[in-house]
Amino acid sequence: MLLLVIFIAKELLWTYVTPPWEAPDETGHYGYVESMFYEKKFPVLGETLFSSRVMAVGPEESQKQTDKYIGGSSLNWIAQHPPLYYLLLEPFYAILPHDNVLPSIFFLRFFSVFLGCVTLYFGWKTVRILVPDQEWLQVAVIVGMAFLPMFSSISASVNNDNLVFALSAYLLYRSLKFFEKEDTANNIILGIILGLLALTKVTALPLFGGILVIETIKHVRLRKKNRNKCGSFWGHLGTVFGIAFIIAGWWYIRNYVLYQSFLPDLVTVVNRHPEILVKFPKLATFFPEVVSQSAKAGTGLYDFFITKNFLLEYFKNIWGAFGRFFFQLADWQYAIIYLITALSVAGYIRVLYLAAREKNWPTLKQFFGWKGGVIWYPFLFVSVAVTWKLYIIFQERGFLGALQGRYLFSALLPFIYILVRGIDHLLPEKWKKFFWLALACFFVINDAATLLFRIIPEFY
């Protein structure tokens, strides 16, 4: 509870320090809320415009950036996003003054801070189930989540990712809590969360795959234990995914009716409806650029991991990639983070080495903590896959193709937990508490140093 109060207190300055529209796609997210409020309907990609109030805000470069991507018009390029997050923001937007965008952005960002708290709350509950007897490890993990600079930054911006993180954290908690038993109510709740996720952002859709893997493993385990009491697997999956479809399916059907695609984006829409180019001629000049940039871009797995050092860039961006130009943390911060990561990797290698020597391979429980591996990997895999896929889309479309580390935050807890757990394997028992304390203090100082010595100097 105290951690949440501290989190809120520190996030208030993050909300102030980040200039309007400097957070990822904030113009689009805000424009979505505004257009729904005034037009009383969901925005349509290729039709919905930013108001002059939105366009008037922000530094000159922001305008140029907008110019490039939407051809000097005021098209909202993210109007295809599902509406849940924006619907939740509507009541707050309604009570804020509308004559000036600036105070309105500032206060709408508070909702993201609240969602950040939800993510942390379920992160805390999850880690307590995982390692109930290692209090200091719990502290290191939860402080690591709360004080991850990139998470601090996203939690202080108008962005539907925040709702994805909060719902994912709850999904992870439910999956873990009900991993050892079958429960119809739990199936219904899983279905509802998945539906809400699908209604929040398309990048959350692969979590359906993650849940499918987890539920399959769970079913196989339960079946082994007690064949008679185990319910029908298909009935179980049908409940989960059926409820998710009832909640979110209409949105994707609407997409198909409107754009002839279940997952549209601006380029797809323009390709299918060239009349948009008549209305916004600058977009046409942008398209040849797309083709040439696409040819240049290396988007395969080999490029992702080897030739262009993307894996390292991705890792760096998980910790920090701020503003429109994705500036990162300082070198000294990365040096410490690399050291922590190296210690973690060494910890896992040590476990494997000892196991190989004694021919006594560790169980999943010993290696990852209770039930850990089963739950973590689907979540982590899905998050990395989403980032890679989006990177390819960005490259092919010729957009700013930074590897956005924030997409990993659907698996924020697994990420920090795996990092910390590795070190746990390395440390002698008597040093553990002290090291967790030092690590937690580093997380706090790292976050503060980022804001004071990177963000403020860059934006002021």
Partner: protein, 227 residues
């Protein structure tokens, strides 16, 4: 029971006082650096000629800058080890006379290839024309450094000013970004510092509590079993 309560209150009180004290000290003294002027590395960069007396870097910037204390220039070494000496100076003009504010000689061996080289000097307030010169008397074709020019043929550089946090907050407040009054910006900053410090102190207190050696039981109770 009363003692424990008093002790807890005392500990919490001391913690709060400590948080406030550290917050105020940091707020007043913590130095924060800002890039106040930059010629960015935009577009295709190209190297200039080798820096020498024949081709020095000399540039003047007009403006008003407070507490300037560092100039970072993007330099190159041609991917080789150079040993020549370079001369750097900052100067202004007073009544038409050149007035040197800072000078430094340094060896090219210290320069990293394709990286910013920082000239750090005592903070100075500048109003009007502010010039700097980078030259070398013993540079040659195979021994010397160069600087990178951006697409506008300007040397890539940035001018940095370092000021205490309270000054920085004043600067942030003056931008009036979200139409918040100055006092609110100060409050947000203090709250931020206090929350981070409180987190660290809380962790330390928790650590101290958990690792404290438990007191032995009172002699009168020793050996008695609870029923």
């Amino acid at each position: 029971m009363k003692n424990i309560f008093m002790k807890t209150r005392l500990l919490v009180g001391s913690g709060v006082v400590l948080v406030i004290a550290i917050t105020l000290v940091l707020y007043w003294f913590l130095p924060v650096s800002f890039t106040i002027y930059a010629q960015p590395d935009k577009g295709n960069l190209r190297p200039a000629d080798t820096i020498s007396t024949a081709t020095p870097l000399e540039q003047c910037i007009d403006g008003t800058f407070a507490a300037v204390n560092s100039l970072d220039i993007l330099l190159g070494t041609y991917n080789r080890q150079n040993t020549n000496m370079n001369h750097f100076e900052i100067f202004t003009f007073e009544n038409g006379q050149k007035k040197v504010l800072f000078k430094e000689d340094f060896s090219s061996a210290k320069v990293e290839d394709n990286d910013y080289f920082a000239f750090i000097f005592p903070p100075m307030d500048i109003a009007g024309k502010f010039c700097f010169l980078l030259t070398s008397s013993d540079a040659g074709n195979t021994n010397g450094i160069t600087l990178w020019l951006n697409s506008q043929s300007e040397p890539v550089l940035k001018l940095t000013s370092t000021m205490p946090l309270h000054e920085a907050v004043k600067k942030m407040g003056m931008e009036n970004r979200f139409h918040l009054p100055q006092i609110a910006v100060v409050a947000l900053c203090l709250l931020y510092l206090a929350s981070n410090i409180a987190m660290v102190i809380l962790l330390l207190a928790l650590y101290a509590k958990k690792t404290a050696i438990p007191k032995p039981a009172h002699p009168s109770r020793a050996g008695k079993k609870r029923i």
